[in-house]
């Protein structure tokens, strides 16, 4: 009896202490990174060619290269943290990571909660289906099942343009979305052009066709709200990489196309 009462009091006392600790932890992210000599960057491991795993399960891809580039320019070690579309922003908000370099598109809702750097790579999203499926406009999606990744840009875009009768099926990560479409669970898939490119190379017999352009939304680096010093530093790194052709080379290497006009 006495023991449990004490336990309860302890728990009650602990909660405000934890809250106070949370408040005291606030520190400029850039100086935190430089002090720890490590920058923690959220990268995709389920989104070829931006981020995927090699034979030794080590991450590779365009985003991984950009993450390593940022780390090298900051002069710190890089800790690559695998994230998926749905959890990358919570990771940033809860300081599990310092930066998101994970095919992150910019939109109004997101700019309210996190900050963005300049764009570092192009990203085209589209609607794809088998050759036999006839889709000429978004209205043709009516009554069709569409696979999309929850929390990804495509999800949000699709919700705006698809007719209400389209059956949108949301999956937790890109691998589940792609697998669902490839297995014939859905008739249509909304994803990036490069993801479909990789899928077509791996299973040429599937006969996937490009149907509609959903959006051309370049990738930005995500930074916690109000971390101006870190944002300026990342912007400087991106601008320098753009000027010396590094970004163009990375885009050619992984996406087989140029960066095009990247917005600031």
């Amino acid at each position: 009896m006495r023991l449990s009462k004490r336990g309860l009091l302890f728990a009650l006392g602990l909660a405000p202490a934890l809250l106070a600790f949370g408040g005291a932890q606030a520190q400029d992210a850039l100086s935190g990174i430089l002090k720890a000599k490590t920058v923690r960057i959220g990268i995709p491991t389920d989104y070829p060619p931006y981020g995927f795993v090699g034979i030794d399960l080590q991450p590779m891809g365009l985003d991984v290269d950009v993450a390593n580039l940022i780390g090298a320019k900051l002069g710190t070690k890089v800790e690559l943290v695998p994230v998926v579309s749905a959890n990358r922003i919570p990771y940033l908000q809860t300081q599990k990571i310092d930066l998101i370099v994970s095919t992150l598109g910019k939109n109004e809702e997101r700019t309210k909660i996190i900050d963005f750097s300049h764009a570092y790579a192009p990203f085209y999203q589209g609607v794809f289906a088998l050759k036999a499926t006839s889709i000429k406009s978004f209205d043709d999606l009516a009554g069709k099942s569409v696979a999309v990744t929850r929390g990804a840009m495509e999800d949000e875009m699709l919700a705006k343009v698809a007719p209400p009768t389209a059956m949108i099926q949301r999956f937790e990560d890109q691998s589940a979305t792609t697998a669902a479409f490839a297995a014939g669970q859905t008739q249509v898939i909304a994803t990036s052009v490069s993801n479909i490119g990789a899928l077509s190379r791996k299973s040429p017999n599937l006969g996937v066709d490009y149907k509609l352009l959903l959006r051309d939304s370049p990738c930005f680096v995500g930074i916690a709200k109000g971390e101006e010093a870190l944002r300026e530093k990342v912007n400087a790194i991106i601008l320098a990489a753009k000027a010396d052709g590094t970004l163009e080379a990375l885009s050619q290497k992984w996406l087989k196309r140029g960066t095009g006009d990247l917005p600031l």
């Binding site: 009896m1 949370g22 034979i55 994230v83 297995a183 990789a198």
Partner: protein, 213 residues
């Protein structure tokens, strides 16, 4: 794009399966220790303690393990306590397993006739002696089957740790499926490995049950 041979897929899954085993072991051991402590507390403490433990059990049985993982991983970070995925997964699985195990074992102890307690009390045994020498050996026999049944659930439950970015068997399977674009093959391998982990446990439980009869 890297080309995975079947052996590459298998080898990587095996490496990731180590984490599934590690998580399961932590959940087994942590859950058993905490669960047993709660059981003793519940049996020896007064009605208030009993109700507190009951509330604890209800809390963890009534909420999805997924939410417990999210709360521990992201919720604690909001409070300023930075938990790694490993710590969060271990704590969540331990709490989860302890709640279920203490409830399973309570049922097993309750199944022992009241007379056994009374008889041992009449021999002037203390609570600890009654529990250890009279009740526990009998309850243990009853507990084997449901405990192992639950442990098999825990092994499979570790898959949920993938949602907080922990790369165990399921997560590794997802990652590989996404580069190879062969989900059927990869997930079959994953399922096979879970089976290879769970089946021997069930088998051992049968042997143990026979031995204890």
């Amino acid at each position: 794009m890297p080309d995975f041979t079947l052996w590459d897929i298998f080898r990587n899954l095996l490496m990731a399966a180590r984490w599934t085993v590690a998580l399961s072991l932590v959940a087994f051991i942590g859950g058993s220790v905490v669960g047993l402590a709660l059981l003793v507390l519940r049996l020896s403490g007064g009605p208030l303690v009993g109700r507190l433990v009951g509330a604890y059990v209800q809390l963890f049985q009534g909420t999805p393990l997924l939410m417990q993982l999210f709360l521990l991983y992201f919720g604690m970070a909001m409070l300023g306590v930075n938990t790694s995925a490993w710590i969060a997964a271990c704590v969540a699985l331990t709490l989860y397993a302890s709640a279920y195990l203490t409830e399973i074992w309570r049922g097993c102890v309750a199944a022992i006739p009241r007379g056994q307690w009374e008889a041992s009390a009449s021999l002037a045994l203390s609570f600890g002696q009654q529990f250890r020498h009279i009740i526990l050996p009998q309850a243990l026999r009853l507990a084997v089957a449901p405990t192992v049944g639950f442990l098999v659930q825990v092994v499979k439950g570790t898959a949920l740790a993938s949602v907080i970015g922990f790369v165990e068997l399921t997560k590794a399977g997802g990652m590989i499926a996404n580069v190879t674009y062969e989900p059927m093959l990869v997930y079959s391998c994953v399922a096979l490995m879970y089976f290879a982990l769970c089946f021997p446990i069930s088998l051992y439980a049968r042997v143990l049950e026979r031995k204890l009869q």
